[in-house]
């Protein structure tokens, strides 16, 4: 297992490098923006009071050489100091930490659901290729590909909450109900259904298409011929030989698309008033609260890196070759 540990270690180093690059990018974004960096950090010009702006200048040494400023900034971020939101009068990290769990629940559930359902539907389409089931899955995937996720969210809530009244249209829990224990979990779960489905739909379509294409390709490979020549049943060939090989590119793409999925949570949380980081991003945009926005940028990037490590582990579990090559 030395190989796996090595890969994991190199993966962590890579992640650290990427993180530092993002912090540096954050810094230059603030400096490249039109206007005084202190004003940019404080929010919309004129909204912040003089004292706060002066304090920012002092804190980040904005009159010093730019490289020194960069050093100060990186040092602060490494210590977990993501700045101070003037709008909310609280440290940015505190605001983010409070919102993080809701977003993690949403994105992780959606990611795993999309992967599981996508692979299942793609497999179904591949084994029934050319039949109505295959066509139906293809059409649904095509539509899901073409529809903006926030609009799907609106339409689902129009149908299931406003018209049918089956599910709550927004929020994390029923306000004022005071549920505890299992009842609370069930309540949150009920609120989770629509946002998760909305967020997962696009990726599910994407993975279903990919699984289908990949399975059709693997089906034509030589070792499937070998399996057939052994007299194995169709079911065993699909589960033991085709699927496992076909799933590898799906995992790779899932890792690459993790960034999009995390980004998509901004839209979903906005539509469903889900009190996570995405919703916070929307509020920050409205209030021009750039400190918070840049903090979100950093935190969501870390989430993507974690998702990537997750997919790497998945890949390593499926493919034994990874331990020596790469």
């Amino acid at each position: 297992m030395l190989g796996f540990a090595q890969i994991f270690a190199s993966r962590l180093v890579k992640a650290a490098v990427i993180l530092i690059a993002i912090v540096v990018m954050n810094f230059f974004l603030v400096h490249a923006a039109p206007g005084d960096p202190a004003m940019v950090m404080a929010g919309e010009a004129g909204a912040a009071d003089e004292k706060f702006v002066a304090q920012l200048r002092e804190q980040f040494g904005l009159d010093r050489p730019i490289l020194e400023q960069l050093g100060t900034y990186v040092g602060k971020v490494v210590q977990g100091d993501l700045g101070f939101s003037y709008r909310q009068q609280r440290p940015v990290w505190d605001i983010l930490a409070e919102r993080l769990p809701a977003t993690l629940v949403l994105t992780l559930t959606a990611f795993l659901l999309a992967l599981a359902l996508g692979v299942a539907l793609g497999t179904l389409a591949a084994v029934t290729v050319g039949t109505w089931a295959d066509s139906a899955i293809t059409v649904v995937a095509l539509l899901a590909y073409a529809t903006p996720i926030y609009w799907i969210g609106l339409m689902l809530s129009l149908l299931f909450s406003i018209q049918l009244g089956w599910l709550p249209a927004f929020g994390y829990e029923t306000v004022g109900a005071g549920y505890t224990g299992l009842a609370h979990v069930a309540d949150v779960g009920k609120h989770l259904i629509l946002p998760v489905i909305t967020l997962a739909l696009f990726y599910m379509a994407s993975y279903a298409r990919l699984t289908r294409a990949s399975m059709l390709e693997v089906r034509g490979l030589d070792f499937i011929k070998t399996a057939k020549a052994k007299g194995l049943s169709q079911g065993r060939i699909v589960t033991r030989h085709v699927l496992r090989n076909a799933i590898l590119p799906v995992i790779t793409v899932a890792g690459i698309q993790a960034g999009q999925l995390v980004g998509g949570s901004i839209l979903i949380e906005t539509v469903f008033a889900w009190p996570g980081i995405g919703r916070l991003a929307f509020e920050a945009v409205l209030q021009r609260d750039y400190q918070v926005l840049l903090g979100i940028f950093l935190v969501t990037s870390i989430m993507v890196i974690l998702f990537n490590i997750l997919t790497d582990i998945l890949y390593g579990l499926v493919d034994p070759r990874i331990q020596v090559s790469q």
Partner: protein, 568 residues
């Protein structure tokens, strides 16, 4: 021996001949509409008896694999299907059996070994399990017994540490080892029939010999009926009891091996046998006149593969201490198995790779000491013919342009270059309209002719030919070799001919250098190397040539050099 025993033997033999293991009657297999012919296999009839090896011989597209695929249910349905006839296994038609019964035959009574060992195993499953799957499907053995049987099978096919190997994934095994695993898998349920579809084509010659020996001994031990599909008459001579020759889906000749090999009747069989590369004394030893055209002196090249943040890269010595000379008009063969580094020197001479040390002197100038600009004039003098006729021509350019591009890059007028290109295309045996067409309109052999014309357009003094015929069918191979020989003579070209096939080298080379693991182990005239090899490895290579004890019938020998054959 008692009388009853004596009388029993002939009756049994008689019974065998009356009910063959496999009886193919009037089999036809249809191709989808729009294919180059309607039937892949056309009214094919033959039988396979227990305890015999039947070789089915043909070139690509002859339909030789289709019968086997039909038997194993591997035809790519619904595009390709059986259109008529029957496939009787022990008297019962496989084609009309219910699917479940067919499946129990496959891998159980009839097993198959494929051509490409590198891709025929599932990369994500331990090899032991892949063999065990067969047992699981066709026997009632409990899991521990299956595991024991797998280890036993792996030992039988001559693999070292079978217990350990059963737990390995395919990527850890070499091509030869994988092919042994495939054979073990096929033998798992003690089949009556073993079908081997070009099982040694993808292997090096010494590995090929080992696998052929293994297949032959296993067949003899178990008295299986074996259908061995191949394109190589050397291999046929090595193992066949009976031979069936196919062309364009039809059976053209069928009979005992000794008849077909030594007294071939059908013109196609005769043509195939005549084009089998063989050692012939095609000219006297080359007399090295004057100064050498090219001298390679202690050339060394190391490749660094893999490597990353936490892993040192692996060093692969592709060439070490490579020294040889090429005189004007001389053909030097560089022979070696895959991974021997035989392409390294050729690629270094034409400037595609840069060696780490050593000198390559062309008419006294060290090419390796030159910078890009200094090297440029020498590009014209040294040209290359590539291996893969399908990859070596840009699919989007007209053939005339492909040939003319080089001279144009050296400042020649485009019109003149194109006119010259037409002349050259005629010289390599293509007609005048070829220049205006695109590569995909030509066959493999014709494309290789275009590649030769492209090299000649530069008016080179030295031609580096890197496996120029290994991707071609045997009959086409002969024609391209003849063309190269003819041109070499007419233009007094020197040639470095790189090949894995000793038989081909024997046919065209004056001097032969044998390479192994990046080093030249033997260097001498073709005659010396073939008649009196000094190095043990050269001897093992020569020993591994399939069918070496078979002599091509006199009347089919030495057709080489009897004029340029038409382009195919």
């Amino acid at each position: 021996m008692s009388l009853s025993e004596l009388t029993r033997i002939p009756t049994e033999t008689a019974a065998m001949t009356t009910t063959p293991l496999l009886d193919v009657r009037g089999l036809s297999i249809a191709l989808p509409p729009g294919a180059d012919r309607p039937l892949a296999v056309d009214n094919l009839t033959f039988t396979l008896n227990p305890d015999e090896i039947l070789c089915v011989v043909g070139e690509s597209g002859s339909g030789k694999s289709m019968t086997a695929h039909a038997m194993m249910g591997l035809l790519p349905a619904p595009h390709v299907r059986v259109a008529g006839g029957s496939l009787l296994f022990k008297g019962k038609d496989v084609l009309t059996m219910p699917e479940a019964e067919q499946r129990s035959l496959r891998g159980g009574r009839i097993a198959m070994v494929f051509q490409e060992p590198m891709t025929a195993l599932n990369p994500l499953m331990r090899v032991g399990r892949q063999i065990g799957e067969s047992l699981r499907e066709h026997t009632d053995l409990p899991a521990p017994a299956r595991r024991a049987r797998v280890v036993e099978l792996l030992a039988q096919v001559g693999l070292p540490n079978p217990a350990e190997l059963a737990e390995a994934y395919p990527f850890r095994l070499s091509g030869g080892q994988r092919q042994r695993v495939m054979i073990a898998m096929a033998l798992a349920c003690q089949p009556d029939i073993l079908i081997a579809d070009e099982p040694t084509t993808a292997l090096d010659v010494t590995t090929q010999k080992q696998i052929l020996d293994l297949i032959r001994s296993i067949q003899a031990e178990r008295h299986m009926g074996m259908m061995f599909i191949t394109h190589d008459f050397g291999v046929v001579a090595e193992i066949a009891h009976r031979v069936a020759v196919m062309r364009h889906g039809k059976l053209v000749e069928y009979g005992p091996a000794s008849d077909v090999l030594n007294r071939p009747q059908h013109p196609y069989t005769r043509q195939l046998i005549a084009s089998v590369p063989h050692y012939i004394e095609h000219r006297d030893d080359h007399t090295k006149a004057g100064a050498p055209l090219l001298v390679a002196d202690k050339v060394r090249k190391v490749f660094h593969v893999g490597g990353g943040l936490f892993k040192a890269s692996k060093e692969v010595v592709a060439g070490d201490d490579l020294s040889l000379t090429i005189h004007p008009g001389e053909t030097v063969g560089l022979v070696g198995e895959s991974g021997s580094g035989k392409s390294t020197l050729g690629r270094s001479i034409v400037g595609l790779i840069k060696p780490d040390s050593g000198r390559i002197l062309f008419q006294g100038t060290d090419l390796l000491a030159l910078d890009r600009k200094g090297f440029r004039p020498y590009r014209r003098a040294v040209q290359m013919v590539f291996q893969d006729p399908y990859a070596s021509l840009n699919p989007r350019h007209r053939v005339g342009d492909i040939v003319a591009q080089g001279p144009v890059a050296f400042g020649e007028d485009r019109g003149k270059a194109l006119a010259r290109a037409r002349e050259l295309l005629a010289m390599v045996g293509l007609d005048g309209s070829a220049a205006d067409r695109y590569p995909h309109e030509f066959s493999g052999g014709q494309r290789q002719r275009i590649g030769i014309a492209r090299a000649l357009a530069m008016e080179p003094k030295l031609l580096v030919a890197d496996e120029p015929v290994s991707a071609l069918d045997v009959s086409v191979q002969g024609q391209v070799l003849e063309l190269l020989d003819d041109i070499r003579k007419r233009l007094n070209l020197a040639m470095l001919f790189i090949t894995h096939d000793l038989r081909v080298a024997a046919q065209v080379c004056d001097t032969i250098a044998v390479m192994r693991r990046g080093r030249i182990v033997e260097l001498g005239t073709a005659r010396e190397v073939f008649t009196n090899p000094r190095d043990a490895y050269t001897r093992s290579l020569l020993d591994a040539i399939p069918g070496k004890s078979w002599h091509i019938p006199e009347d089919l020998q030495a057709k080489m050099g009897s004029g340029v054959a038409g382009a195919h």
